[in-house]
């Protein structure tokens, strides 16, 4: 079935803002040739282009590691902070508190998230702050040359021959359990699925957490690794076929309600899950967690959209934050008048 997310053919391909894909590119990547992270950057560029995201509204935020260098390689004209190891969640939270009109796109790695940053990660997930959290997950510390990370599977072998003997942290299960409202896993090599998941994340107003398995060609792409290109291709079990229909595409989509699930996103876009196992309900937390546990026990790498909740109040709504960005509220709104100080002083006399 032809998907609605493919824009109509046009000689000069521009999006709904009239921007070309070149407007969404970044600087030249300095990561290794073949690094999965570069493919993810490409998908982010495409997703933002196709969704008609205004680049100036994007805040690119990252921690430390190979993954965290990658925001320089997409959306050159956007704003960004390459912050500290494991601290992207707090930087992103602060930026969104200051300016809720931003689209916060956080890029992290498996070490950055599941080890040094696991504290900030879990608390970010609890808050359901509107932002996109992408883990570029290769199971290994790349920038420090190949140490094992906390998402590495038990029994997975390092290039040095060292075997990992501790169980992995499943960041998706953690995110679902703690309160993230759009959670999926993908593979940097699965262009179509990753693109659909990223567009869905852009349409979602809550915490979107995507764990993207992104093989490290230099330190973790060998025989014995469970995060190598060949291993992931062999063990990838997509949960469903994903199609994303943006709200501005005036295309009616035919689908068989028996085999397809249609999820309406916050902005009016639709995420279609086809060939989904009939009994699976991605709005059910418990099912999502069971799926992840079972697939893990079977040694499968299940990918797709595991959980989505469009009803949950997000953090900014919970805080009752003003609609305009707090950062640029005028003095008249943020400095109470002298009468207020006089009143407070009288009470203290």
């Amino acid at each position: 079935m032809a998907t609605a997310s493919v824009p109509p053919a046009s000689p000069v391909k521009v999006n709904r803002l009239g921007l070309e894909i070149a407007n969404y590119k970044g600087n030249k990547s300095t990561l290794c040739a073949g690094c999965g992270h570069n493919a993810i950057s490409e998908r982010i560029i495409e997703a933002c282009f196709e969704m008609g995201v205004e680049p100036h509204r994007v805040a690119k935020l990252s921690g430390i590691g190979c993954s965290s260098k990658s925001p320089a390689y997409f959306l050159r004209t956007a704003y960004g902070v390459n912050s500290l190891h494991g601290r992207m969640p707090s930087i992103a939270t602060g930026a969104m508190l200051a300016n809720r009109s931003l689209i916060a796109m956080g890029v992290s790695g498996d070490g950055d998230t599941a080890s040094i940053g696991v504290g900030q990660f879990v608390h970010l997930m609890r808050r359901n702050m509107p932002l996109i959290y992408i883990i570029e997950d290769n199971g290994v510390y790349g920038l420090t040359k190949g140490q094992v990370s906390a998402t590495a599977d038990i029994g997975s072998k390092l290039k040095t021959g060292v075997v990992n003997d501790l169980p992995p942290i499943d960041t998706c299960a953690l995110a679902i359990q703690l309160g993230a409202t759009y959670v999926g896993r993908s593979f940097s090599g699965d262009k179509r699925q990753l693109l659909a998941l990223l567009k869905g994340a852009l349409a979602h107003k809550g915490t979107s957490m995507l764990d993207v398995i992104s093989p490290c060609v230099t330190f973790n792409d060998h025989e014995g690794s469970t995060k190598s290109y060949s291993y992931v291709k062999d063990h990838d079990e997509p949960l469903a076929d994903l199609s994303f229909v943006p709200f501005f595409d005036d295309i009616s989509v035919d689908y068989d309600p028996g085999s397809t699930m249609d999820i309406t996103m916050h902005d009016g876009s639709h995420m279609l899950l086809r060939k989904l196992e009939e009994s699976y309900d991605p709005t059910n937390k418990v099912e999502a967690l069971r799926l992840l546990t079972e697939s893990h026990d079977k040694g499968e790498i299940i990918t797709g959209l595991f959980y989505v909740n469009t009803q949950q109040e997000n953090f900014l709504t919970l805080l009752n934050v003003a609609d305009e960005p707090l950062a640029t509220l005028p003095e008249s709104k943020v400095r109470p008048p002298k009468a207020v100080l006089d009143e407070v002083m009288r009470e203290l006399m």
Partner: protein, 614 residues
């Protein structure tokens, strides 16, 4: 409920004694969790309302219930409000410490105590006033569960009778404390009356201490430093507040939440013009501040020493990436358990240079609640003007104790948001270089995320970037950037609050102090003059980097005593880093680090002793 005030009959022996009026310290020794806070606050307020300059210091344990706590109230006609080592009046209610409390009294002092403690046996040179607290409280407080709390009010009544505190002022104090809870006011006031009546019937006054109405507190307020910081932050226009609870700083944000709910919810929309988040730890609290500051908000956090340690990495990042941030540091004694509820100026050296690499930070140092308010506002202006983290260095003594003060002054200048370029600015300029020193003051121009102009975007990083914010590891780019940051710091040197200097033209002895040491130094200056004929000059630091006036002061003096409330003379160390050798030789150190607020006598004695060696 006015009580007719009749002077207590004085004893024969005492009538010959000189009356000592409005010059005493009262120490109340209780167990924490016993609800003595209300009785102490009301006592303080009643004295304040009688127009007598007063200060209160709560020396409390790191515990919720069951450990000893002392509250000291000092009334001083001369306006001295520093802690004094000795007390004239002791209220002894804690069996655990009563022996020691009584033994530490000076001769001639008075002691009101729970009669079950039988303290008379320890001293014959102290005036004793035994009170049967439990017997007295039962009839006025039928609810046995409340008795533990209400019985403390009895000593307010006893002290009122013995010292001459007007009961009507006690009543007003209670109404202030309980606001609309009339029942609580009545219950507590009745307990105070019982104490008052008991004292009337049973005591003859044998001590010379009196409190009498004067007119030195009219128009003044009573507030703690943390509340003053909170008010300053609100009037500074703070919009993002993130914090993690830690004694003694928690009440900065807790108080701020209350004020913001009251005064910063937009009346038209019903929405908050702020966001306050209790973070998971100090790493996250300061990270959120950095994210918010980068995005253009006036953002702050409040913490204490251990929290500062966790904030070190981000503070350095803020210095290098040039992100405005305000961090309130309510300093306390060292790490972990033991003395976290005791005061110290323990973070001065650490914060000045916090983080790794070459980092230096602006610190503002309030000595009073008025300055907590004013410097909080100043801190937000400086943070945005200099695009860097700024510390407000308070301490537990200032932050958690009640201080008498003049009403705060409404800010007389608009918020200064620093060098921020709009989309139009960037278009007109044809682009911008984030870290370029366009004006020669070391401060670049920034844009805020969301500014709708493709040339306005930039990617902030830590140490490695050129002036266009492009990733760079080139030695020249790094050196140029570090030298520009030095220029920026030098610009700040001229902009930060100047020291307060009192000299009287003397050239021999100088004193440098900062923060809460100020109040003890003021008293020590008088002691040095009246007791030793030493007329010292005094320079009170209000900021780091040090203004040129600080160096000039040192140059003019022969010997300079630097007063620190820490073991190693941290401020002296910081001065040493920047002074030329012949000036360093002049520096002497006066240090106080027992966890209690510094007192004048300690300073005077130390200076006298060191002067004798010259």
């Amino acid at each position: 409920m006015a009580t007719t005030h009749v002077e207590l009959k004085e004893s024969e022996s005492h009538t010959a004694q000189k009356r000592i009026v409005n010059d005493l310290s009262i120490q109340v020794a209780t167990v924490n969790g016993s609800g003595s806070q209300t009785a102490n606050t009301v006592l303080l307020r009643a004295i304040f309302q009688m127009g007598i300059p007063v200060s209160g210091k709560n020396l409390f344990p790191s515990n919720i219930a069951g450990l000893p706590t002392w509250f000291t109230i000092r009334a001083s006609k001369d306006g001295y409000i520093a802690r004094r080592k000795d007390s004239e009046y002791l209220v002894a209610l804690n069996p655990e410490t009563a022996d020691e409390d009584v033994l530490s009294l000076k001769a001639g002092a008075a002691c009101v105590y729970d009669e079950r403690l039988n303290l008379k046996r320890f001293r014959d040179d102290v005036v004793f006033y035994p009170v049967p607290f439990d017997q007295l409280v039962a009839p006025v407080c039928p609810d046995a569960r409340l008795r533990k709390l209400v019985r403390n009010m009895i000593y307010d009544g006893v002290l009122a009778r013995l010292l001459g505190i007007e009961m009507e002022e006690v009543h007003i104090g209670l109404r202030k404390q309980f606001k609309k809870k009339a029942k609580a006011v009545d219950l507590n006031f009745n307990a105070a009356l019982v104490g008052y009546d008991y004292a009337t019937k049973n005591f003859q006054k044998h001590d010379p201490y009196y409190l009498e109405r004067m007119d030195a507190t009219r128009g003044k307020i009573i507030i703690d430093g943390n509340s003053a910081c909170a008010l300053g932050a609100m009037f500074a226009g703070v919009t993002v507040v993130t914090w993690y609870p830690i004694t003694p700083s928690s009440s900065v944000c807790e108080t701020l939440i209350e004020y913001m709910k009251r005064y910063r919810v937009d009346k038209e929309t019903g929405k908050a013009t702020f966001a306050i988040v209790q973070a998971e730890d100090e790493l996250a609290a300061v990270g959120m501040v950095m994210g918010a500051g980068w995005a253009g908000a006036r953002a702050m956090t409040a913490t204490s020493g251990p929290g500062i340690s966790l904030m070190a990495e981000f503070t350095g990042f803020g210095y290098y990436a040039e992100i405005p941030a305000v961090i309130f540091d309510i300093q306390r004694v060292g790490p972990s358990t033991g003395l976290p509820t005791r005061t110290a100026q323990g973070d001065m050296l650490k914060n000045a240079l916090l983080s790794h690499g070459d980092t230096k930070h602006i610190m503002l140092i309030p000595c009073s609640v008025e300055e907590c308010f004013a410097l909080a506002i100043e801190a937000f202006d400086l943070a945005e003007e200099f695009q860097t983290p700024v510390f407000v260095m308070s301490d537990l003594d200032l932050g958690m104790n009640n201080w008498m003060a003049d009403p705060f002054t409404y800010p007389d200048k608009p918020m200064s948001r620093g060098k921020v370029l709009s989309a139009e600015d960037v278009r007109r300029l044809g682009g911008f270089a984030r870290y370029k020193d366009v004006d020669g003051d070391g401060i670049g121009y920034r844009t805020l995320p969301g500014t709708p102009e493709p040339l306005a975007g930039y990617f902030a990083r830590g140490s490695g970037h050129n002036e266009k914010a492009i990733y760079s590891e080139r030695p020249n780019d790094y050196v140029d950037n570090m030298d520009r940051l030095t220029r920026k710091f030098e610009t700040a040197r001229a902009k930060v609050p100047k020291p307060a200097i009192q000299e009287n033209g003397q050239r021999e002895v100088g004193i440098i102090a900062y923060g809460t040491s100020h109040w003890a130094v003021l008293e020590a200056l008088d002691q040095l003059k009246s007791e030793r004929e030493i007329e010292a000059g005094y320079c009170r630091l209000r900021a780091y980097p040090f203004s040129p006036e600080v160096y000039d002061f040192i140059r003019r003096c022969a010997r300079v005593y630097v007063v620190d409330q820490n073991r190693d003379g941290q401020m002296l160390g910081l001065l040493r880093l920047e002074l030329e050798p012949e000036q360093i030789e002049k520096l002497r150190s006066v240090r106080h680090y027992d966890g209690l607020p510094i007192d004048a006598r300690s300073i005077t004695d130390e200076i006298v002793s060191q002067e004798a060696q010259n």
